[in-house]
Amino acid sequence: VPRAGGRALNRLLNVVQQHPWLSAALLVGPAVAWVALFALVPSVTILVNSFLTRSPTGGILPIFTVSNYARAFTRLVYPTIIWRSILIGIETTAIALLIGYPVAHYLGTKKGRRSLLVLLIIIPFWTSYLIRIFAWVLVLMERGLVNATLVALGVVEEPLSLLYTHFAVVLAIVYSALPFVILPIYAVISGIDERLTEAAKNLGATDWQAFREVTLPLSLPGVVAGGMIAFIFSMGSYLGPVILGGKDVVMVSNTIVDFYFQFFDWPFGSALSLIVVVVIMALTAAVYRVARVDTIYGRR
C-alpha cells in the first residue's frame, strides 16, 4: 500500500511539474484562501452589516438603511472622532519620522558591526503593544518617574497631571511606532552605494549638501513605506487612547469597540470600521504608486 501511495504521489508530482500554474496554485492557495476567507469575506460582511438595521435587542435586522452612514457623517461627535484619529495619525507619524530618521541614517551609514544596534531597535517592537502603552502610566502618573524627577529638581512644586491627555497618547504611540519608521528607512539607506555620496563630496559638496542631494532623495521609498505603516498603526490605535487618553482623547477604534461590545450596535460599528478601511485603502493605493511592493518583500 505505501508503495502504491508513493507511486500515486509521484504521478501527482509529475502532473504538477508539467503545469507550473498548478504548482503555484498549490503553494500559494492555502494562504490566499485563509486571508480571503478570514479577512476579505469579513470585510464584505461588515460592508453588508453597515447598511442594515440594529434590532432593539442588539441583533441585526435585514432591513436596508443608510442611517448608519448618515449618523457617522452628520452627528458632530463622529466626524470629530474620525478626524481626531487622522490628525493624531499624522502628528505621531511626523514626530516618529523626525526623531527616527537620524537614527536610521546613523545605522545605515555606520561602518563596522551594527547588527546589535539594529537588533536593539527591533526588540521593543516584539514586546506587547499593551505593555509598551502601560509602561507610560508608570512614567507619567501623578507619583511616577517624570513627576518625581521634576519635584525633586524643584522645577514644579505640585505634580503635573500628565495622564489622560493628548500629550500622553501621542508620546506613547510615537514610542510604539518608532521601530516601524526606523527599520524600513535603515534598510533603504544601508542599500545606497556609498560611492555616490563620496562622488558628491569629491565634487565639492559639503556633508549636508551630499545628504540633501543624494542620500535624502534615495531614502524616500523607505520614508514613505515606514510612514505609511506608522500612520495606519497610529490612526487605528485602541490601547493608547483607552489606557492613556481617558475620556478626553477618544479615537475611532475606541468608538468601534464601544459600539460592538457595550451598545451592541454592530451595524454602526461596521459603518465606522468601513470608513477607516476606505481611508487606509486610499492611502496604501497612493503609497504603492511611489514605493513598489518589491521593496517591502526585500527583493533586490
Binding site: Q17, T45, W126, A135, L145, A148, L239, V293
Partner: protein, 265 residues
C-alpha cells in the same frame, strides 16, 4: 576649516540624538522591571521599599496561570499553522511566475495593514453569521491571519537571497526538481521557517487589540487578563506580568534573529 567645524558639531548632535532615542526606547522597559519589585499595592516612584512580594502573588494567581496556558497553546498552534501556510506561500511567490502574483503579494500584506481592532470585529461579524460561538477557534483563525504576513516576509526575504547554485548542482547531478526541493532547498530553508514560527508565536502571544473580539470567558489569553487587571485593580502584580511579556518579547524573537544570522545561506 569652518565647514569641517560645522560637520563636526552636526555629527555630535546626531550622535546625541541617536543615544537619546535608545534611552527613550529602553527607559520605560527598565522602569517596568524596577516597579515590579515595588512592595506596596499603591505604586509610587521611586519605590519606598523593594521586595519580591508581587512575584509571589503572581506565582499563586491561578487565574493568570490558566491565561498563560491558553496563550502558550494558542501561540504554538498559530505558529505552526501560519509557519506552514506562510512558507508554502512564500515559495510560490518567489519561485513561480503566474498571473496575479502582484495582487497576491498585496493581498497577503492586508492583515498587517488593517488595524487590529477592525480585523477583530470584522472576523467576529463574519463567524457570528455562521453561528460559530466565540472562543478558541476564533483565536486560532485570527492569530494565524495576523502572523501570516510576517512569516511570508521573513521566508520570502530568505528565498530571494538563496544561492541557486546548490540547487542547480543537484539538478545537474541528475536529481529531479522534487528531489532537489526535498533534499536541498527544504533542509536549507528549515532554520528560516523555525525563526519565522518563533516570530509568529511572539505576535500571537502579545496581541490584545484583535483578541478582545475573539475570546470568550474560557479562552482568556494573558494580554486580556492583564488588560482587565490594569483597568480594575492596578497593583505591582501587573508589572510582574509585564516583565514576563518583556522576557518573552526579548528571548523568543532573539532566538529567531540568532537562527537567521547563524544559518544564513
Amino acid at each position: 576649516m569652518r565647514r569641517g567645524a560645522l560637520s563636526w558639531v552636526g555629527r555630535l548632535l546626531i550622535r546625541a540624538e541617536v543615544i537619546s532615542v535608545y534611552v527613550f526606547l529602553y527607559l520605560p522597559i527598565l522602569l517596568i522591571i524596577v516597579m515590579s519589585f515595588h512592595e506596596d499595592a499603591v505604586m509610587t516612584f521611586p519605590p519606598p521599599s523593594i521586595s519580591a512580594h508581587w512575584y509571589r502573588e503572581f506565582l499563586a494567581d491561578e487565574w493568570l496561570h490558566a491565561a498563560i496556558i491558553n496563550s502558550v497553546v494558542l501561540g504554538v498552534v498559530a505558529a505552526i499553522v501560519s509557519g506552514v501556510l506562510g512558507t508554502l506561500c512564500a515559495l510560490g511567490l518567489v519561485r513561480c511566475r503566474f498571473r496575479g502574483r502582484s495582487v497576491v503579494e498585496r493581498m497577503m500584506l492586508a492583515p498587517m495593514l488593517i488595524p487590529r481592532v477592525i480585523l477583530g470585529t470584522a472576523l467576529l461579524s463574519f463567524l457570528h453569521t455562521l453561528r460559530l460561538p466565540r472562543g478558541f477557534a476564533y483565536l486560532v483563525i485570527g492569530h494565524v491571519l495576523i502572523a501570516l504576513p510576517y512569516v511570508i516576509l521573513v521566508v520570502a526575504a530568505a528565498l530571494y537571497g538563496f544561492r541557486r547554485e546548490l540547487e542547480e548542482s543537484a539538478l545537474s547531478l541528475g536529481a529531479n526538481e522534487i528531489q532537489t526541493f526535498l533534499s536541498v532547498t527544504l533542509p536549507l530553508l528549515m532554520p528560516t521557517v523555525v525563526a519565522a514560527m518563533l516570530f509568529a508565536f511572539t505576535i500571537s502571544f502579545q496581541d490584545y487589540e484583535a483578541s478582545q473580539a475573539w475570546a470568550d470567558s474560557r479562552s482568556i489569553t494573558l494580554p486580556i487578563s492583564i488588560f482587565t487587571k490594569i483597568r480594575e485593580e492596578l497593583t505591582p502584580e501587573v508589572n510582574v506580568v509585564a516583565v514576563l511579556f518583556v522576557l518573552v518579547g526579548v528571548i523568543v524573537p532573539s532566538c529567531g534573529e540568532w537562527i537567521l544570522r547563524r544559518f544564513r545561506f
